[in-house]
């Protein structure tokens, strides 16, 4: 569990050295300075200590699907402003700003493709778009990707990363929890697999709907996963939270996750599960069941 403990190793000189931002990356866990290119080749996993940095949404599509197999759905879908919401900023301005920053219309990429040749529906949340918050577009795109899986009789995989509900859509953001859960109920009835991959961080309304409803719930090492935010809990119970609270390892220990999987093994690991659940034969190249760590 040492990966998130603040190390006190004195690296002051190196810390202060100006690193050209686009060449080097310092691992926040082991403080090792690594070629950024190395980090990227390694799916943002530290080659030294295997600490998992966050990975951009589109990279999960590349990570999980066979090359060139992905067809995106509803890429142009945008949110309305059903409440005409205005806080310090107008909601449409926030949306436009997020769009400029990410080049995406909302906080989710969805579509279908193949995973080790198995056809799947896939949805990946983008935390960089208003904190991966769930509003009408996230809900509708998940509903559509889920229905696509229903129509095609294929499995559905959702990669979650979210701060929770999109407050600026008020009650409609809350209702997306009901909507997405309802489509998963349909997949259940149809006997189709649903895999939930929870990445850092997954909290609030997303955790309390589809992210926790996987036939198999998988996470990456160290991911923060919870319902209430740690600060809210601290204020409520008026005491400090134990070390490692709400981390993937904590959830595994408490029975909320099936597995924690190293990102670099993720595709193979999910594909094995899918073949079990779809009664497909193991591929000839597959290693015979080695006990997992």
């Amino acid at each position: 569990m040492a990966w998130f403990r603040k190390t006190k190793t004195p690296l002051k000189a190196q810390d202060r050295r100006d690193l050209p931002g686009d060449v080097w990356e310092k691992c926040p866990s082991c403080n090792e300075i690594v070629y950024r290119e190395k980090f990227r080749e390694n799916w943002n996993v530290c080659p030294e200590c295997a600490h998992h940095l966050r990975l951009p949404a589109l990279d999960y599509v590349r990570l999980l699907l066979d090359e060139g197999s992905f067809t995106e759905m509803d890429a142009e879908m945008r949110s309305g402003d059903p409440l005409s919401f205005e806080d310090l900023k107008k909601y449409p301005e926030r949306l436009a700003q997020a769009e400029r920053k990410t080049g995406r219309r909302d906080a989710l990429i969805s579509g279908h493709g193949r995973m080790e040749r198995i056809p799947v529906s896939l949805a990946v949340m983008d935390f960089s778009f208003i904190g991966g918050s769930m509003g009408s577009v996230v809900g509708e795109k998940i509903a559509r990707a889920g229905r696509h899986a229903l129509e095609e009789g294929t499995p559905f995989i959702i990669v979650s990363a979210s701060g929770g509900a999109r407050m600026m859509e008020g009650i409609f953001s809350l209702m997306q929890m009901a909507k997405t859960s309802a489509v998963l109920a349909e997949l259940d009835r149809a006997g189709l697999p649903f895999i939930s991959l929870l990445t850092d961080p997954t909290t609030g309304g997303v955790t309390a709907s589809y992210a926790m409803l996987g036939d198999v719930n998988i996470s990456e090492p160290g991911a923060l996963i919870g319902f209430a935010g740690p600060r809210v809990i601290e204020q409520t119970i008026k005491q400090e939270l134990p070390e490692g609270f709400q981390r993937a390892e904590f959830l595994l220990e408490h029975g909320m996750l099936d597995r924690i999987v190293d990102r670099r093994e993720m595709k193979a690991s999910i594909a094995i599960l899918l073949r079990h659940m779809l009664s497909l034969p193991a591929p000839e190249t597959s290693e015979t069941g080695s006990p997992e760590g």
Partner: protein, 321 residues
């Protein structure tokens, strides 16, 4: 009653109520005839109540929804239903008393009633955890919904919670999982389901018993993805902007009716539900009856289809199809 706290905007009402009390007391002690004065004071009270309650701001509605004298689930159960048999426990961990549930009869017909339960005083609130359930509360609710389904009986839920409890044990035992499971299972129940927000509809903790065929709201209840205080702290970076947040969130019954999220509003008496719990319960009784009759005319397949359509249509996105 005189010791019960009033909301700020109810001060004037409270003063007249006190005058009436004093007058009545005096009349009794001294054997005076005060009919005339009494009538005028009561008239004044009525018009004050009307004036105040017809012009409630969203944040004032939030306060009425949280009013310490507001009728809770057990108050409605007592007035609307008969033959109530409370059932306890989630069969896994413990009985969570912030949710009450059990069999009851609506006009003689057996139904399952499930609702959040707040307490009236500190002792009760400790027992009820201020109406904030742990995962075991939601698991009890689901267990009993499934029981109702097994016997083909309708499910009524009453929503009144600040939210699901944000605590250590709640997280350890899977608050998120418990809520999520309820959402999915409620979407697939084969019996008619009706929810009514009677006070506070606090986010996921409310929705966890609220994915129903019909969503009703008491006139002065509120339903929101986040409390106005929480929203103000995050988006305005100041908890004191809660009035603005309450308005922006469109959390009142008329707003949510206008947005098409809820199906019907139940009118409260002048002065709010707490001014006359009996009349409030009677109004709710009538609407529950009508709503249930309407749902009973549908086959399980039709129910299922309409429920999916209802939730799939929630939200605003472009292009629509």
């Amino acid at each position: 009653m005189a010791t019960v706290a009033h909301l700020d905007f109810e001060k004037a009402i409270a003063e007249v109520e006190e005058q009436i009390d004093r007058l009545r007391h005096m009349a009794r002690e001294k054997g005076l005839d005060v009919t005339g004065e009494m009538e005028s004071l009561e008239g004044k009270l009525k018009s004050l109540q009307t004036e105040t309650y017809e012009n409630l701001d969203p944040i004032e509605r939030v306060q009425v929804a949280r009013h310490p004298r507001r009728p809770y689930t057990l108050d409605y159960l007592e007035r609307i239903f008969t033959d109530f048999v409370e059932l306890h426990g989630d069969r896994m961990y413990r009985d969570d008393e912030s949710i009450v549930a059990g069999w009851a009869r609506l006009d003689g017909e057996s139904v399952m009633v499930i609702g959040h339960q707040k307490g009236r005083d500190m002792k009760e609130n400790l027992q009820r955890n201020f109406g904030m359930p742990h995962p075991e509360g939601y698991r009890k609710a689901l267990r009993l919904m499934k029981l109702a389904e097994k016997f083909g009986r309708p499910v009524f839920t009453m929503i009144d919670t600040p939210g699901a409890y944000p605590g250590l044990g709640a997280e350890e035992r899977g608050q998120a999982e418990a809520i999520a499971r309820n959402l999915r299972e409620m979407a697939a129940l084969t019996v008619p389901t009706i929810s009514v927000i009677i006070g506070e509809g606090g986010s996921g903790g409310a929705l966890a018993i609220g994915v129903t065929d019909r969503i009703l709201m008491m006139e002065n209840s509120v339903y929101s993805v986040i409390s106005p205080e929480g929203c103000a702290a995050i988006l305005w970076k100041s908890g004191s902007e809660r009035d603005k947040a309450a308005t922006a969130l469109k959390l009142t019954a008329p707003d949510l009716n206008h947005l098409g999220v809820i199906d019907r509003i139940i009118k409260e008496p002048t002065g709010g539900a707490h001014a006359d719990p009996d009349a409030t319960a009677e109004a709710l009784h009538g609407v529950l009856r009508e709503t249930l009759d309407e749902l009973k005319s549908l086959s399980p397949e039709e129910l299922h289809e309409q429920r999916l359509e209802k939730y799939f249509a929630m939200g605003e996105w472009h292009p629509r199809s």
